[in-house]
């Protein structure tokens, strides 16, 4: 049995990724149980602070995806409560969660990332949407990828093949947030590279190759078992696999992340392009981090137990 004591997994939240997060949380609980750790799944709601104050857990595993879970707010609250937790501190989360900011940080650290522009909806309103969109297409070309600057699970994201589809993609995107990231759609092999740090510095896990159906890696493709095919390790030549691993570790370090992260990359022309990083990666049956942990010959429960122990030892 573990000597961790009372462990809390935070899952749920009020974002569109609530359901995914609950599935992650329950899968984590089961995995931890197999590793001898009794963990409880709790939602981040109005009762949370009182519960944590009256019965403080020895460590918390945040598994809330999307805003509140990955934008640093829940980490800030945990720090205020003095509760140790797994994963990046609030400030690093804020940088990592904001895709344009994360892209800028990793670019400064030497990584390639698709050319993009970031614009709030007010710009389209004030300067005229037609002119702004035309300039974007003229500069970045097509196809494009439009996504909310903050958020995950492909919600509000669309691939735009033709210029006339761009306005509709902007509307879908702005339903999820007020700022859009419009990125060149780099074609290549899509991989997710998990990074874990069990005390010896951040190590990349085997890359997971994502082969979505023809319709793209959208919400349905992500969360309908069997729609997307996953290959672990990714079917990449050794040099490319090594470059992908190095890119994920570079992103993890450059953004000041801690314990675990997952970096999404496109390998194009033998080169990894950084798309985004997740500080509370999905842990569902169709999520790539658990696949990578398994492919590395490790058990998800034991890895999470060790991360919790490290957090508890670190304190806050």
């Amino acid at each position: 049995m573990s000597d961790l004591g009372h462990v809390l997994i935070l899952a749920g939240g009020l974002s569109a990724e609530r359901e995914v997060s609950l599935r992650s949380g329950h899968r984590l609980r089961d995995a931890l149980q197999e590793a001898g750790v009794e963990a409880e799944v709790a939602d981040a709601d109005a009762g949370l602070i009182a519960a944590m104050t009256s019965d403080p857990p020895s460590a918390v595993f945040p598994a809330i995806h999307g805003a509140y879970g990955e934008d640093g707010s829940i980490q800030e609250i945990l720090a205020l409560l003095g509760v140790p937790f797994v994963g990046a501190a609030a400030e690093a989360c804020r940088f990592a969660f904001d895709k344009p900011v994360a892209k800028a940080v990793v670019r400064a650290a030497g990584l390639a990332t698709p050319a993009s522009v970031t614009l709030p909806k007010e710009t389209f309103h004030d300067l005229g949407a037609a002119a702004v969109l035309a300039r974007i297409v003229a500069t970045l070309g097509l196809p494009l990828f439009v996504k909310p600057a903050r958020g995950g699970s492909a919600l509000g994201a669309s691939r735009v093949m033709a210029a006339e589809d761009l306005p509709g993609a902007m509307i879908s995107c702005f339903a999820y947030g007020d700022t859009a990231l419009i990125e060149q759609c780099v074609l290549g092999t899509e991989v997710a590279v998990g990074v874990i740090d069990l005390g010896e510095g951040p190590q990349a896990l085997p890359a997971v190759e994502i082969v979505p159906p023809a319709s793209g890696y959208d919400y349905a493709a992500r969360y309908t078992a069997g729609q997307t095919r996953f290959f672990t390790p990714a079917r990449l030549p050794e040099a490319e696999a090594a470059a992908a691993a190095a890119a994920a570790v570079t992103a993890h370090r450059a953004l000041g992340l801690r314990d675990l992260s997952r970096t999404d990359l496109i390998i194009s022309g033998g080169r990894p392009f950084f798309l985004e990083v997740n500080v509370a990666p999905g842990m569902t049956e169709t999520s790539t981090l658990p696949m990578a942990i398994e492919a590395a010959g490790r058990a998800l429960g034991l890895v999470c137990r060790d991360l919790l122990s490290a957090a508890a030892a670190r304190g806050n």
Partner: protein, 466 residues
């Protein structure tokens, strides 16, 4: 974990023994993680059963922080729970060997008799032998579809139609043809045109699915004159009518309307439920069908569930015979009327120009049309962020139409919450209007459902200040 047990997919080594192109560079054999190893073995009807972001958003809508105008949950707090509990306990103590035993697939005879009494309130004269008890009326829909529909068969259904019915029809791979409605429900002329169009293509519909009273999601009701017209058209065409009537006793004005089945015992299958008049957790509904169909329904029910919950059936029978259930329905009616009024008042007070909506005379739902160009499905994430939920209209049409509509339900939230929810919704719509005005002229024109016809926009919407 599915991935633990999967057969490793072939790595890059071909069977011939030839080295794979990258073999020397690839120390670890790549394995495919088959998240669902049976993915290529599912039946065709499972193909459309996929994860959706709308469902994901509804997972959030269930949280108390969100005012949910989405779900159609009856308000059970108005039920005399003590009395029902006492009755249930007594039932098991006194009749447990029957209540906990198997039963015939057609259902308890005493309950079927009581069901006939309930239906008599809507002018239906029926014999208990013609009634088949089902697991809510949803199962009746499933069984009807099962016995009538082969893949590709045509079903005529109102546009919009109850989402649960469309789900059932899709799972049997039916082709649904929507028939337009206005504020008086199904348009008889449109029904005639739909039948003629089918005939000209050499097709014939298997049945018409309709919710004539207090429509879900439309909130509209087919008046008596139109009922006769619709029945006449169906009789002349030899078209079976499936009359789904969950809300018939929940009208706010006067006596219950005469059911379609009351005037055509041979041409109409009537579906009823106690989910709205007692409680949905009991899962007791029924189908009233002509003998041939009845026989098939009983066999289909047996194949599906062997028999229904005996306990639930006896509870309903006991409730109907020992409790003042009609008084209770009156209590429900008053409660829902107050909430309907609250919602209509709130909508009139705060919704931005260009929105129009129906004024239900019973049931649970208001159907709202957004200003041109707006899409309720695309707008839902914004609503969830603003802590209010609704159901986008696309769920009530097949083929992705209906984006400019949304369904609001007033049955569950307290009046103060309804007002707050409508206020939040108005803000969301205003923001969306502003966003669309930013991209005006750049978006493709939105075709109306069913070829640009304007739905549900008669007098019900016309008296709203524009």
């Amino acid at each position: 974990m599915a991935a633990d047990n999967t057969t490793p997919a072939p790595a890059s080594t071909p069977a011939s023994g030839e080295p794979a192109p990258h073999e020397s560079q690839q120390p670890l054999a790549s394995q495919e993680s088959l998240v669902d190893r049976y993915v290529d073995r599912y039946a065709g009807r499972a193909r459309e059963m996929i994860a959706s972001e709308i469902r994901a958003l509804f997972a959030v809508a269930a949280r108390p922080e969100i005012v949910s105008l989405a779900g159609g949950m009856p308000n059970l707090s108005a039920l005399p729970l003590d009395a029902v509990g006492e009755m249930a306990g007594q039932l098991v103590a006194d009749h447990g060997t029957v209540a906990l035993q198997y039963m015939s697939a057609q259902g308890d005879p005493g309950l079927r008799e009581a069901i006939c009494d309930v239906m008599s309130l809507e002018g239906i004269r029926a014999h208990p032998d013609e009634v088949v008890v089902t697991v809510g009326s949803q199962q009746a829909l499933d069984l009807i579809t099962r016995i009538f529909i082969d893949p590709g068969d045509v079903i005529l259904a109102e546009g919009p139609s109850y989402v649960g019915a469309l789900g059932t029809f899709a799972s049997y791979q039916a082709e649904v043809v929507h028939v337009p409605m206005d504020d008086q429900g199904l348009i008889p002329e449109a029904l005639g045109q739909a039948l003629a169009a089918l005939a000209s293509r050499g097709q014939r519909a298997k049945f018409l699915y309709t919710v004539p009273s207090f429509h879900n999601p439309g909130g509209v009701t087919l008046p008596a004159a139109r009922r006769a017209q619709v029945l006449g058209i169906c009789q002349r065409a030899g078209l079976l009518v499936i009359e789904d009537n969950p809300y018939g006793l929940l009208g706010f004005d006067g006596e219950p309307l005469r059911a379609l089945r009351a005037d055509d015992p041979h041409g109409v299958v009537y579906l009823g439920t106690f989910s709205k008049t007692i409680a949905p957790g009991l899962r007791v509904g029924w189908a009233l069908a002509p003998p041939g169909i009845r026989d098939k329904l009983v066999l289909a029910a047996e194949a599906a569930v062997l028999c229904h919950s005996s306990l639930a059936q006896l509870m309903v029978r006991e409730y109907l015979t020992s409790q003042p259930w009609q008084e209770q329905v009156k209590v429900f009616r008053e409660l829902y009327r107050e909430r309907r009024d609250t919602m209509l008042d709130a909508l009139a007070a705060v919704m931005p120009d260009g929105c129009r909506w129906t004024r239900p005379a019973g049931g649970f739902y208001v159907w709202l049309q957004l200003p041109p160009g707006l899409n309720a499905k695309a707008m839902l994430p914004r609503a969830i962020s603003a802590r209010v939920a609704y159901v986008p209209g696309t769920g009530f049409f097949t083929g992705g139409a209906g984006g400019e509509f949304l369904r609001l339900s007033y049955c569950f939230p307290e009046p103060a919450r309804i007002r707050e929810g409508v206020r939040r919704l108005a803000d969301v719509v205003s923001t969306e209007i502003e966003l669309h005005s930013t991209f005006r002229g750049l978006l493709p024109p939105v075709p109306g459902p069913g070829g640009g016809q304007d739905f549900l926009t008669g007098p019900a919407g016309a008296d709203i200040p524009q």
